[in-house]
Amino acid sequence: MLDTLVIPLLKIVVLLNAILISVTFMVLMERKVIAWAQSRLGPMRVGPYGVLQAIVDPIKLILKEDITPVKADKMLFSLAPILSLVPALVAFAVVPFGGDELFYVADINVGLLFFLSVTSIGVYGIILAGWASNSKYPLLASLRASAQLISYEIAVTMTLVSVILTSGTLSMVGIVEAQLADGVWYGFIQPVAFVLVMIGALAETNRVPFDLPEAETELTGGFHTEYSGMRFSLFFLAEYANIIVISAVTALLFFGGWLRPFPNVEALAFLDIIPGWIWLFGKIFLFLYLFMWIRATLPRYRYDQLMRIGWKLLIPIALANIVVTGIVKVLV
């Protein structure tokens, strides 16, 4: 009873709260990082250096009027934000924050597969949001989104196959342990896969330079144009939760998760003083920062260019990567 129900439930409660709180602070971090990149200060009014902005923003969003357009499909309109957020949160179930059983909700033997399938559901939220709004700009955006997410989904999944080949397991914990056994982070032996996953991650989370579904300046906000108040912020939460989960997975698969640098070099053993979850958090932060940095720097791709990159560049490279990994695996 205690082991099968209470402790997992407690873990889920802690994890959910941690995610939601970190999302609000991540929004603050993004605003600050981009502000500094643009020689501004960012939020400065609420609390010292604007740190309380992270608390004030959600309160504002909750208090805002929730508008449902008259011509919208009421049921789908309410369902869409939920469909968008829930998969993003569920995906955290298989993300281990440390090697010990205390640090993950579940270590299922097909963890990576579970992650991929659950995050794929999120696209329904975006498609339905655009469709249910019964408005032209969101419709265009949701068509873009479905095409984009599906094509990049394929590229990312193909790429991850090569990681699975290298580690020989689909379990997230297993993949990190395999990196410990091999004595190297997979980012170094699978650099191509790492770059592909990063590009795919940008596209799947609708971030610049692939933020076409929400393209503020083209589609006036894209699929969430008609949303307001808390429903809008659910999309917001989903987007940021997705970014965090994909950063975490990238850190786990390619940067050794909770392992210190050069996990088998004895001379660096003093680094073990720092607990594993701090290593992992540091790596996640690095990726989050990378996402923000890219957003501050790059313009946006056009729809056709985005599809071209996905189908003509990423997928062939991913396939070639699988072949090369397979050959190396057989030979070595």
């Binding site: 020689s39 265009l140 076409l212 300046t217 720097t297 313009p299 946006r300 791709y301 729809y303 260019q305």
Partner: protein, 373 residues
């Protein structure tokens, strides 16, 4: 049709309304786009949302009162509007403007060009998704506005010129500040270029987008950077020099492809040429009066005149008719560069994707206050 099998899916064209409330129509431009998927098959430009009847108002205003109406046309480049109007009236009155005034006018006009181009660069890049460039460009535009504020007290609608000269001489030390600004601007231009010029995404988004040939551009009556981007040599500053432009050495950048990227490169080069002109003008700034001999009562003799200047957006012309009896124009007509360049929008847009529409609105650099007047 009876002979054709009915399509399985309904393939109607989608008509969407872009603007007048849209983040990237630069004001209140409204485009009615007919889309086939994401491709634009037809485009209808609707305007008039900020029509204030400036031309008609001018018929009931004193000659000098009109200067402040011209501020409100291209409100991001008020000084060049003032310049064009004042020079036209001076031509009508046959008034000689002192050399010092002409020099200062040139400096103001070129500062204004830098300020206006900063706004164009920022919004154009923002439309394509590069948000940092906007903040960078506005940072430098702020410096231009500060200089104008110090000169005439206003930051947007300057009312900075008078018929026959200038209302104010430059404040002491102002020329040094302008020089310092030129130095700063020169170091900031590479920052913009670093973010955009060789950026692969920027190249893909702008190269080959909105191509227009030189003859087509001329036939459509385009002017300014959109015309020069197609390789047509036309710059009023060179062809019909006004103010003190005939005394300065500068180049007119020309494009070769006539696409959005060329227009971008041309405007960036114009930043440099403007800095060059300002420096020459400051070096050779003559002493002397700033107002010419203007009669107390402005009453030009009956006649009409047309005079054009090169505003940041293109050829800004004023056509004024005086009946010789009143102290106001009988008719005033403006040839606004934004309006003429807007003619080119439809041929540029048709056949492109929705994402290119915002990019093309940005590249022709329109200000709706000037389109509608």
């Amino acid at each position: 049709m009876a002979t054709q099998s009915a399509p399985i899916f309904d393939t109607d064209e989608l008509v969407i309304n872009m603007g007048p409330q849209h983040p990237s129509t630069h004001g209140v431009l409204r485009l009615v786009l007919k889309l086939d998927g994401e491709r634009v098959v037809d485009c209808d430009t609707v305007m008039g949302y900020v029509h204030r009847g400036i031309e008609k108002l001018s018929e009931n205003r004193d000659w000098t009162q009109i200067i402040l109406l011209t501020d409100r046309m291209d409100y991001v480049a008020a000084a060049t509007n003032n310049l064009g109007y004042c020079e036209t009236v001076e031509k009508l009155l046959e008034v000689e403007v002192p050399r010092r005034a002409r020099y200062i006018r040139t400096i103001l006009a070129e500062l204004q060009r830098i300020g206006s181009h900063c706004l164009w660069l920022g919004t154009h890049a923002m439309d394509i998704g590069a948000m940092t460039v906007l903040l960078y460009a506005f940072r430098e535009r702020e410096l231009v506005l500060d200089l104008f504020e110090e000169y005439c007290g206003a930051r947007l609608t300057y009312n900075s010129m008078r018929i026959g000269g200038l209302p104010l001489d430059i404040p002491s030390g102002w020329d040094q500040k302008v020089r310092a600004f030129c130095d700063v601007m020169e170091t900031k231009l590479p920052e913009y270029e670093e973010l955009l010029t060789n950026n692969r995404i920027w190249l893909e988004r702008t190269r080959g987008v909105g191509v227009i040939s030189g003859p087509d551009a001329t036939a459509l009556g385009l002017c300014g950077p959109p015309l020069r981007g197609s390789g047509v040599y036309r710059d009023v500053r060179k062809d019909e020099p006004y103010a003190a432009y005939d005394e300065f050495d500068f180049e007119v950048p020309l494009g070769t492809q006539g696409d959005t990227y060329d227009r971008y490169l041309i405007r960036l080069e114009e930043f440099r040429q403007s800095i060059r002109i300002i420096r020459q003008a400051l070096d050779g700034l003559p002493e002397g009066p700033i107002m010419g001999k203007v009669p107390r009562l402005l009453k030009p003799k009956a006649g009409e005149t047309y005079h054009a200047i090169e505003s940041p957006k293109g050829e800004l012309g004023y056509f004024i008719v005086s009946d010789g009896r009143a102290t106001n124009p009988y008719r005033l007509r403006v040839r606004p560069p934004s309006f003429c360049n807007l003619q080119g929008l439809k041929p540029l847009i048709v056949g492109h994707l929705v994402a290119d529409v915002v990019c093309l609105i940005g590249t022709i650099d329109i200000v709706l206050g000037e389109v509608d007047r």
